[in-house]
Symmetry: C2
Amino acid sequence: MSAGGGIGIGLMGLGIVGSGVARILHEKADVYARQIGHPLKLRRVLVRDVEKERGFSVDPALLTADGGALLDDPAIQLIIEVMGGEQPAYDYLRSALKAGKFVVTANKEVMAKHGGELLMLAREHSVDLLYEASVGGGIPIIAPLKRDLLANDIAGVTAIINGTTNYILTSMSRDGVSFADALAEAQRLGYAESDPTNDIEANDAAYKLAILATLSFHLDIHPDEVYREGITRLTARDFQYARELGYAIKLLAIAQRRSGGVQARVHPALVPQDELLANVDGVLNAVQIEGDLMNRVLFQGPGAGSLPTTSAVVADALDAAVSISNHVYWPHSIRREGELHVLPISDVRTRYYLRISVADRPGVLALVAGSLGDAGISIASLIQKEVDGEAMPEIVIMTHEAQESDLQSALRHIGELADVGAVEQVLRVLA
Amino acid sequence: MSAGGGIGIGLMGLGIVGSGVARILHEKADVYARQIGHPLKLRRVLVRDVEKERGFSVDPALLTADGGALLDDPAIQLIIEVMGGEQPAYDYLRSALKAGKFVVTANKEVMAKHGGELLMLAREHSVDLLYEASVGGGIPIIAPLKRDLLANDIAGVTAIINGTTNYILTSMSRDGVSFADALAEAQRLGYAESDPTNDIEANDAAYKLAILATLSFHLDIHPDEVYREGITRLTARDFQYARELGYAIKLLAIAQRRSGGVQARVHPALVPQDELLANVDGVLNAVQIEGDLMNRVLFQGPGAGSLPTTSAVVADALDAAVSISNHVYWPHSIRREGELHVLPISDVRTRYYLRISVADRPGVLALVAGSLGDAGISIASLIQKEVDGEAMPEIVIMTHEAQESDLQSALRHIGELADVGAVEQVLRVLA
């Protein structure tokens, strides 16, 4: 297909990211044309409502509510999809690839659920499917995993990849406020959506972890296989105890290669205060990758927002444009290592933080410690605290490394003890 | 050229990095072959002394002291150069590119001094020249700048890119030891060479900064244009004062776009303790990049060492192997923006830390402050300290932002004041 008239682009979606992409492609048209040797030309923009008022100037003649107007236009060689959500984006991307168009997407849900299939489809049609913006906003992370760290056997990924929850946890830690108050503030500032479920229940982070783990371990990990716990049950007291013990609390996305399989989990965790990840605050994201050769590399930056995400989308678009204008296709091989599978959460071995409310009677501490000991779990440190007002006193226990299944069975025993109010909190600890 | 028999590799250099590359290509031959679809085959290894005893098993039949044996072998499609130094590496790389071979190099000196010419040569011969390992060891940084951040106008790069000096500065800060003692310890541990000049006088960091600045700003910056100050004049007292003021001291490599040009400088600097760069300790490296879209992204990891550097070299080799085996050439465009030039150090505007020894007489402080004021430099904070023993008392001044030329002229005046012993230390401060 000739690039004589420039690289024809069809943009799907004109929300926060789409508007940024349209604006930057316009503002930087000259510099990108010098970079690629051909202009990038925005030919059609797919929107839900063509009549809607918009705060900036995309030529109204480009707008359409009909996906076919982009997919069937042979002058469009590159589709940029920033509409989000599984459908109709998934169908559009399949159609675009089958039509031999290059595709750039920021869609974490589609890539997490259907990435393997779409990448194969791209390969069959000798085009590329690029998705840097699906994880970590403006932080380069997909391309480094695909290319720069490829010589390594990846041992693990440990990441803070949801800016909304990191903003909430940073507020709770810094201001001592409740989860509800921190969420309300994040919503007021536009860092959390009016329905925050996907962020606070860790679904968003699970999508992104599935993408990172799939790339890291060369096997298809579906987001449903990612264990997830959200941040809604964290209390101001947990942050206070964690600080006393020398830890921050972060929503971590962790994927690790273990003998016999891979662990993939998203949950709040205690992170030692001298770890870099403990100091990634506010809406920042960070991804730490461990490999056999490069040891540990950390990437940090803005994980969301219109311009950072635009940075990733346009970088992919420029990459695709080089391929298109030079009539070359870069055959990223998709290596699959079949023998690995995702391990259940009960197989996890880690340290734990436990907060347990107890009756103020002698002997209860010995009973709790005994239940842990019976399950083979040893205690690293223990704090007993008076609690203001009517509440029962609490004991806070840090365990040595233990297996999740052993811990859960010990906690069932502890919950049944007469003098125990409840196991109020269980958090894993980053080793 | 057919890849039927695999991708033929010629390795130049079998030192610390070369040995790692040879070993990993051997140990991971199967997984790399699965990744690329063809085996990578080490065909010849260029060494200085074929007879030398080596601690691992490279087939002795592969060794040669004759560069032509690699350059003239049509079965060698890819040259990996890890010998270091300007010559004969530079001549070998030119010959390899002219012979149509792909080239992977870890050579910062050659890339800093001749990168522009070699990249043009590669382009002319439709091959690629890859140099990820030349900066930042195992940290992906060249590829992200070439590709992932390309949508941005890069505003600046601020980096810790020399592990030897960072190790020495970390020791001086943590243990309160002198530069000489910290250097001796680094040499004993193998982190500093017996002739440490290139590291401690900032030549190594200047090479790397020239490479990063050239990529960031799309103009050719020769290492001779990079202003450099080493770390040899830092004293234990500077670290003590810096800590009291809330700063670490790091050897920073800084490149910034300014109106009318680019600043490129390597020197020790005070870094606020809450900046991530202040907490990059020991032999770690970190590169922070600012752009108009992605804001600030930071990459951190091991900046040197056999395996981390091997990680970068082999990643480039795998990338080149994909091109070779698929008969495609990825035409990285080399965009040059001619109008920018490197600004002199006298144009820098920054804050300064000054340590000045003075006679213990009334009025001297007013004279020093007056000299700064006359040059339009205002004082942000001032500490006057007694010094043990015979030494003169010291005043430590933090200035507000000032222009380097104004500061230097003020310091000339101050140096001539009767009651001033000497301007003992001048350090720039990271804004």
